[in-house]
Every structure is written in structure tokens, then in C-alpha cells.
Symmetry: C2
Subunit: 595 residues, 2 copies
């Protein structure tokens, strides 16, 4: 079974020591109560309840999976009980608006709870995670009447919500979607069509399920400008606002998948189901993006969350498994063999996972703080700046965190050798579960295209300029730190490569639009390495300043891991710059039929 | 369901056009009958029978898995019938000694059949694959009496054989093994102990199963010099040589695994089972290495075999799936969307898999030819040279082919998006099946250590010198080919990096033995990129010479893929050189307890 304890010490390091979160939050509307004590207490309690209540459902949930009986999905044993315990504890409403019963805590705090929840059971975490995404869309776009009817119980978790985009013939390209909506006389709509890959489309944990369905009005324009969003509940509400009549929707089947088997993945059929318009007609994609931007960050975090479990499990194994001897002479001569942690290559695998995890946690904290600033800062210029940084880095978080998460899980499985491949150690489940995060919420290649084809172009390149400026200011601020040179210089070098890549890209894409797609993935990885390098240099400097007198070894480990990152992972920027400059012809010259 | 047609055209390209196989084989003992016509006919028939008989058992075998009933393993439905069909066709004896009923065909031909078999159903292929490994060990080390009793029916496939090394507390470090052997009065031995991860330890396809068990005589020295190999059959032979009395061995349980579910992975208990010594007492590891060297190459090939299926499946999907539009303007304006093959990033994923696959096939053919030369060439100097090259490149084949295989399967799954993650398309099975090849037959990190810690040191560095010489001679031979400069120059540059890395490594390991392990994986990848680059440059030159007048597009595609490799993958040598120079301290400074 996989081993996991919530990494509270590292979370506190990120929140307090790296981000100085209290100071930042103090200036944001509605965050006044988020003191350091509150934050730490919430996270400690989150760790306790997730480790005790949710974690034990993870392996068994994978084994049992979801089943479909008489048109109803049954989640794995224990899921409903765990859900109710968390719901009663108010855990699903941490970051939600007090106007609807939420606790109004900062986003930056709520997401650290989400990491713990995802680590404990990713499949389980999807049900409340999707509800929270739907909450965002409704909060931004629904009418007051809709909000009044639906929000309080979505916030409490009594009801859940799911997003319904994909159809058999279209996923990425929503402009092709065919689900129809017809106006009814009472102001509602009749929704008809089939959606696939609907996570949580049905389950047995809540009394109602809200489907946010993208559909096309009969007189809508073709393409993405003819898509509207509808709230389509499983049960219609009666006069007293309670779930009553069953709506005309049903589960066609559930998918057999590689992983996240505890999450139901449904084919949903809507047969003239009653729906309510969310936002304006034909502006459904706009409404859906409120949901998707949140979900993209959340999915990125899943890579970190599973990478953390993988690291903890593999590190514990490597410290205990006796096999072979150190190349430098026996380290445990009193035992039949040394623990495999003595081997440099085992450490390479573990440190790669650790550098990904801790770097991602710091970056995610930093991005989450920008989300809070973007939403709550009194100064519009600050809100704009924060929004730019969030927009630029969302593809990095979604795609690179999940790529790294899969790599970390695979490396950590490798540490266990054959034991990693059999089910009982829990490592192979992590690999199977982590794999989906590279795909859903937009396959990672789409995010690379979003970064290079869209985010880099917005406002004349303002988003990237803003981020480069942030990095340069950091470099300037530490230029006198000779003790930090080993961390700062490689970052400066990587930053130059990113600037070179950006300049090359501007020239190349002006000549040939295919260069955008051809360079996109390498460029995204290059930007991610810089962003991780930025976080690791900052972390190293905090640790350098704090290590004197510390007996825990925490800060020394931070410095060792930072050094590993800048020496052994950051140099990949060199080959990424070379390969992205190879240009589009190396990809496009082959005729399609020759593949 | 995954799509697969045996890549016969590419196999013929490698065998005839790149390797000039007939000319080489003509000079080898016993290979005189392996004409081009024979080779092509054998492979065409191999393709037919594997596609018709074996491929249909792959997905269903994964679904059903193996079961244990009353101590007996039942393989998935269809496995036994497929096994019997192939056995009757003589497919398991292609490369075996005619003295025991084998067909005596060159190794280089037999392995191309094995690739097709592995692609068709990896789990299934393990049963005959392990028998063939055991055949090697017995052929080299068993007494004439043992050979007479067991070899003919192992060669025919009527009986199978398995290798029994791992125990619960030891896998990599066989010196720790505890299974005991006691001498009996009749010259046999009594074997007692527990082995785990025994692939094919029991099954229902053959009348007998030979276990080659590593065990320790009661008076044996400790460590690896006290290990002997025993032939321990499931059924003892009666006076007429037929399977009779059941031996004292049994299946304790079978493992639930991530993949290769059609292959039984058994816990085996030996309780005073009767065994016969293979080779000399206390020289069992030596005997096992005859088997393991073959199995390592075979396992490496599995990465290629699954990568090929993944590529074919994903390429077919990408040519057909309509979604979005080309960045350069609609390519199929008559349709609602363009096929996703128009997107550069989709091509990046497909071409990466293809460059891995075709590069690996060429390199595997080249190494296999060296195996034939090492075993059959009349000139001992040629045999020695060939043996050096095989020894040097075996770790690359085992580890990098399987790393690349997993990466290729994952990239190709990604091309299918959500459809790749659900079972019905067969892609996720490929990822799960491919994952084991990085682990069994020695986890890949062990092979990196074998390369850097052992192979580079042998005979004063002769193995690497021989290979560098081979590459330099190739570069010299093509230095006047201006048309090939784009392929040859990057290879020359990568070769310089390999030489720099080798020189650095010699200096560093003289100072600190931990540098061997610290540099091993990056060094192995660097060597692999050079070896692939060598094959791709050779392939490109063959294609440049042959493309005039060719209407099939085959040679043009070869050139495009070669260009992709040298421009977009080979530059990774730059960052590998940088990261291996980071040194051991970046890995070893962290105290073990801080992980």
C-alpha cells in the first residue's frame, strides 16, 4: 500500500517562509481572518481527516471500481461515507462565498487542502473538485434566481455538479458539438444529445447532480459562437426547492479505464431534459472557461499530489530495502546488504521526483496567491498584473505538473523494481491514476498551443514581459548574495535561453504559423524549467538564511534538492532551445499518408 | 483495439538494405541456407500466423488474466490453442540447434520473428521466450545426459522452461539468496525454498515445465560464489522419458500486476523437489548469465515491439480523427474539421515513437548480426570483436529500448486523448504491458551500472574503443557525401560529446567510485543516442541512394524520420553531457534519513 503523510512542513515553508502569505492576504478583501494560526490549524486538520477517512478508500476504490446497476452508478465501498464525513466537516466549502454558506477562505489556502485530498484519493477528489469548478461558472454567470436555487447546496456538498462538454466525435474541438437545446414556453430549455467522458455523471453520494451542459440552440450560429451553457439537474426541484421529479437524462454506460477507477466516467444521454440557461445564449464557452480555468489549475495540482505520494512511498522503500553494496564501500556492514538509498541512481530517481514536487508546490502556491490577488486586490493594476501571471502560467501548471507527475510516479515505481509493478504496493495505481491528468481538461499539447499560440500573443506580449520582469527583478534583488550564486547563476542562464527562444519564436511564427505548433511543447517545457528554477532559487535563499541553528535538517535538504535541480534538471534548457529551433519543417515535411 | 501489421517492409530494409545480411551470413558456419528468399518467406509467414492466431488473444488475455485454481494456473482463453498452433508450425525452434530438432536459422532471423510475436501479444510471447533463454543455458552448460533427456522437447515447445532467481528478500542482489540444495545419494539434489516473480512458473499449455532454479548448497560459500543452478521439472520423467511423477513443487499464489496479465507471475514453493545440477557446483550464476544475456536483448526488443503497435495505432487514429483546423489554414475544407495529423505537436509525438522504433529495429538487427558473428564466425578475432560490441550494447538495448518503448506507448496514448485512456482502444494496455520491460531482467538502472561500472572497464576499455572506432570508420567512409551532411555532422558532434563524457568519467571515477553510479544513467542515454544516430545516418544514406524512381514514399519517409531524429532528439546529448558532469555530490550529499 502506498505511504502518505500530508507534507505539512513543506506547505508551511511555502506559505509562510517563501510567500509570506499573511502579509499578502492582509491586503486582500475578505482575507483578513486568514492568519498564520488559522491556516496552519486548517491544514493540520485537513491532513488528519484525509489520512484517516479518505486515504483508506484509495486502493480498495481502485480494486472495486464503479459499477452501473439499473441505470445508477454505484461508487466503491466507503466513498459515500467518506464524502459525508468531509461534507459535514465543511471541507468542500472552504474557498466559497459566504453569501451561499461558504467559508470565504483564500484560494491559496483552499488549494493546499485540495492537494492533500488528491493525494489521499484522486478518484474521490474529482467529485467535489468538479462541483467546485461548476460553482465558479455559476458564481460568475448564473442569474440570481438560479444561484439562489442551487448554490447553497452545491457549496455545502449536499449536491454535486459535473461538466458536460465532450461528445463522441468532439473533445478538443467543441465547435463541432451537436447536443441540441430548444426553447420551451416557460423560459427553460429542452436538451437532447449524448455526452461522453462525464466524470461523476452519476454517483450515489449526493441527493442531486447538476449537469452543466454545453449545447447548441436550434438557431445558433455554427462553430464555437453558437454554444450555450445549461444547468440540467438530475432531479428537478419541487415547489419547496427539494429534489423532486427525475429529469430526462440517464447514464448510457460507464467506461472501463486505465485508472481513476473510483471516479465514474459516464456516457450521458439527454432526451429532452429540462435545462436552464447559464449566462447568455451562444456565450456558453465563455461561461465554461470560468470553470475550466479553475479546473486546469486543479488538474495540474494532481500531478504534484500523486508525485508526492509516489516519492514518500519510494523513499521509505529505498531506506529499508537491503540489496547490494554501496560503490564506495559497505555502509551497513553489520547487515547482509546496504539499503538501496546508498545507490546514486536510486537517489537520482528520488530527487527528480522530489525536486518536481517541492518545486511545483512552491510554484502552485505562488500562482494561487496571484489568483487571490487577481480576484481580491483593491488595486486594478495589481489585479491585472496578477491575472497576467496566472494566465501565462496556467498551461505550465496544467501540462508540466502532470507530465512531471507521471514521470515522478514512474521513477518511484522503478525504485521498487518488481514490487512496484504488482498491485499490493500501490505504486502502479499511482502511475495509472496520474496518467489521466495529462489528458483531461485538454490534452497537454493543447495547453502548449494555448501558451504559445494565444497567451504569448495577448496584449502585445504583455504576459510574458510581465513574467520575465518578475524573474529579472528577483535576480537583481539577490545579485549581492555570493552564497546563492550556485542557484542564481544557472537560473540567469536559463532565463537567457528563454529570452532567446522567445525572440526566435517571434521571428519564426511571423514567417510560418506552423512554427507555433512545432515549437510549442519545447517552449512550454523551457518556460516551466525557468519557473521551477525561479522557485528553487528562492527556496534555496530562504533556506540559506534559516539553516543556522536548525537541527531538523529541513533547510539543508531544501538546499540539497535545489542544487540537484539546478545542476541536474535545469540544464535541459540547452537542448530544448536547440530542438525548438529545429523548426516546423522537421515535422511537417512528411506527407500525412506516410505516417 | 490496437492496430498492428508486422512491419515487413522495414524489416527487409534493415536486413537487406542496411545490413546486407546475406553477404554476412554466407560467411558464418551453418547459415548457408539463409538466403534472402528464405528470410523474406519466413518473416511473411510469421506475420500471417501471428496476426491471425496470436494478435486476437492480446486484449482478451489482458481482460481475463491468469487464474489459480486448485494450485494450477489457467492461462487466458485462447492462449493454449495459439501456443499449439505455433508449436506445430515449428515457430519456437527457428534458431535452435538441429542436433535437438531445431531449425538452425541465424539468430538475426529468429529475433525478427520474436519482434512480431511480442507485438502480437507480449504476455503470450514470454512463455516461449523464457524457454528459449533456458535452452541457451542448457545448451552451454548442461551435461550430455541432461541435454538428451530435456532438449528435444524444449526445442519443439512441447515442454517449457522458466528461470527462478528472485526471492522475497532479494532480486538484484542474488548473493543473498536462501533457497537450499542438498545432495542426494543418487546424484540428484533436493531443492527447498521460495521463489517469487516466476513468469510462467505454472501454466496449462505444455505437458511439463522445467524450472532452472538458483540455489545454495548447504556447504556453499556465502555470496554469489555459492550459487548453483538446478534443473527442477514439474513432472519427473519416467523410464521411457515421459512426464511421470509430480515433483515436490507448487504454486503458492499468482501476482496481480499492472500489465502482462496473460503471463502468470508465480510464487513458487520447492519442498525438497528433485533437481539436477546444471554446470558445476557454485558456478550457477555463470550458467544463468548465458540465459540472461539472451533474455536482456529479448526484453529490450519488447520496448520496440510495443512501441511499434502503439505507433501504428496512433498514426491510424491521427489520420482519421477530425478535430480542429491546421494552423496554416484548413487542409480538409470539405470536412467539418481537419484530421489531427495536421498538427505539428501530434506529429512530434508520432515521429518520436517512429524514430525510436525504426532506429531500434536497425540497431537490434545490427547487434543480432554481431551475435551471429560472435557465435559462428570462423575467425576468432572477428568473434571477439563482435562479442565486444554485443557486450557493450546489451545494456543500451535492454534499458534504453524499454525506456523508449514506454515513452512511445505513452506518447501514442496521448495522441488518442481520452480515447487512449479507456480500455477499448487498446492503448492503455500497451502502456501497462510496456512498463514491466524496464524492470524485469534487471531494473534499467542496474544495466546503466553494468555499462559504466563493468563494460567500460573490461579489457582496459577495449569495448568502447571498438565501438567508437566503428563509428569513426563510418564517418570517414561518408565524409565526401555532401548530400548526407545534415545527418552525418550531428552524429559527429554527438560522438565528440560521448568521447568527452567518457574522458570525464575516467577522471572522475578514479577520484570517487560513486561517480560511476552518479553518471551511469546519463552516460547510457548518451551512448544510446549516438548508437541510434549512427543507425539513422546509415539508414538515411541508404535511402538517399535508393529514392530515385521509388514511388512508394518509403525512402522519403526514412529520410524525413532521420532528419527528425538528428534535429529533434539527438541534441539531447548536449544536456546529458552537462548533467553527468554535475557529479556525484549533487546526489550523495543528502543524508539517507533526509529522503
Amino acid at each position: 500500500m502506498a505511504i502518505y503523510k500530508a507534507p505539512l512542513r513543506d506547505m508551511r515553508f511555502v506559505l509562510h517562509e517563501m510567500l509570506d502569505i499573511e502579509r499578502h492576504l492582509a491586503g486582500l478583501d475578505g482575507c483578513e481572518d486568514a492568519t498564520a494560526e488559522t491556516i496552519d490549524a486548517v491544514l493540520a486538520e485537513a491532513a488528519r481527516i484525509c489520512e484517516e477517512v479518505v486515504l483508506p478508500t484509495n486502493a480498495s476504490g481502485d480494486e472495486a471500481g464503479c459499477t452501473l446497476e439499473d441505470g445508477a452508478v454505484r461508487t466503491p465501498p466507503g466513498f459515500a461515507a467518506a464524502y459525508h464525513t468531509l461534507r459535514e466537516g465543511g471541507w468542500f466549502s472552504l474557498g466559497c462565498d459566504p453569501a451561499y454558506g461558504g467559508q470565504g477562505l483564500p484560494h491559496t489556502l483552499a488549494v493546499f487542502f485540495e492537494e492533500i485530498l488528491q493525494s489521499s484519493n484522486l478518484a474521490f477528489s474529482l467529485y467535489p473538485g468538479l462541483t467546485r469548478g461548476a460553482y465558479m461558472a455559476l458564481h460568475h454567470h448564473a442569474s440570481d434566481a438560479l444561484k439562489a436555487a442551487w448554490m447553497p447546496r452545491l457549496v455545502s456538498g449536499e449536491w454535486s455538479a459535473v461538466m458536460c462538454l465532450t461528445e463522441p466525435h468532439c473533445g478538443t474541438d467543441l465547435g463541432l458539438l451537436r447536443t441540441r437545446a430548444e426553447r420551451a414556453d416557460d423560459g427553460t430549455y429542452r436538451i437532447s444529445g449524448t455526452k461522453i467522458f462525464i466524470t461523476g455523471g452519476d454517483q450515489d453520494m449526493t441527493d442531486n447532480i447538476v449537469h452543466l451542459v454545453l449545447a447548441r440552440l436550434t438557431d445558433a450560429p455554427a462553430g464555437t459562437r453558437g454554444i450555450s451553457m445549461f444547468l440540467v439537474p438530475k432531479f428537478l426541484l419541487d415547489a419547496s426547492g427539494e429534489p423532486g421529479e427525475r429529469n430526462s437524462l440517464g447514464v448510457g454506460s460507464i467506461e472501463k479505464k486505465m485508472g481513476i477507477k473510483g471516479a465514474s466516467t459516464c456516457v450521458m444521454n439527454y432526451e429532452g431534459a429540462t435545462g436552464w440557461l447559464v449566462g447568455e445564449e451562444n456565450r456558453g464557452l465563455n461561461a465554461m472557461f470560468s470553470m475550466m480555468n479553475h479546473e486546469r489549475l486543479m488538474v495540474g495540482q494532481q500531478g504534484l499530489a500523486l508525485g508526492e505520494v509516489a516519492y514518500q512511498s519510494a523513499a521509505a522503500y529505498a531506506r529499508e530495502r537491503l540489496q547490494g553494496r554501496s560503490l564506495g564501500g559497505a555502509k551497513s556492514p553489520e547487515q547482509a546488504a546496504d539499503p538501496i538509498i546508498v545507490h546514486p541512481d536510486v537517489r537520482r530517481m528520488l530527487l527528480t521526483a522530489r525536486a518536481y514536487n517541492e518545486g511545483a508546490r512552491a510554484l502552485f502556491g505562488w500562482v494561487s496567491l496571484q489568483v487571490d490577488r487577481m480576484e481580491r486586490h483593491p488595486d486594478p493594476a495589481v489585479r491585472e498584473a496578477a491575472g497576467d501571471l496566472v494566465a501565462l502560467l496556467t498551461p505550465v501548471v496544467k501540462a508540466i505538473f502532470t507530465d512531471n507527475g507521471s514521470e515522478a510516479c514512474n521513477l518511484c515505481l522503478q525504485v521498487l523494481g518488481g514490487h512496484g509493478y504488482i498491485r499490493e504496493w500501490g505504486m502502479e495505481q499511482l502511475v495509472r491514476d496520474a496518467r489521466i491528468a495529462q489528458i483531461y481538461e485538454g490534452a497537454n499539447g493543447i495547453h502548449a498551443l494555448d501558451l504559445v499560440g494565444r497567451k504569448l500573443q495577448l496584449h502585445g506580449g504583455r504576459l510574458l514581459d510581465r513574467y520575465l520582469q518578475e524573474c529579472r527583478e528577483f535576480l537583481t534583488s539577490v545579485r549581492d548574495r555570493d552564497d546563492a550564486r550556485e542557484f542564481v547563476d544557472p537560473l540567469a542562464e536559463a532565463l537567457v535561453r528563454l529570452e532567446e527562444a522567445s525572440a526566435w519564436l517571434r521571428g519564426a511564427t511571423a514567417r510560418d504559423p506552423e512554427e507555433i505548433g512545432a515549437a510549442s511543447y519545447d517552449y512550454m517545457r523551457l518556460l516551466a524549467l525557468v519557473a521551477f528554477g525561479h522557485m528553487w532559487a528562492r527556496a534555496a535563499i530562504v533556506a540559506l538564511d534559516a539553516r543556522n541553528g536548525d537541527n531538523s535538517g529541513f533547510y539543508e535538504s531544501k538546499i540539497h534538492t535545489a542544487r540537484f535541480f539546478v545542476r541536474r534538471l535545469l540544464p535541459q534548457t540547452a537542448s530544448l532551445l536547440a530542438t525548438l529551433r529545429a523548426g516546423a519543417d522537421t515535422l511537417m515535411d512528411m506527407p500525412a499518408e506516410a505516417f
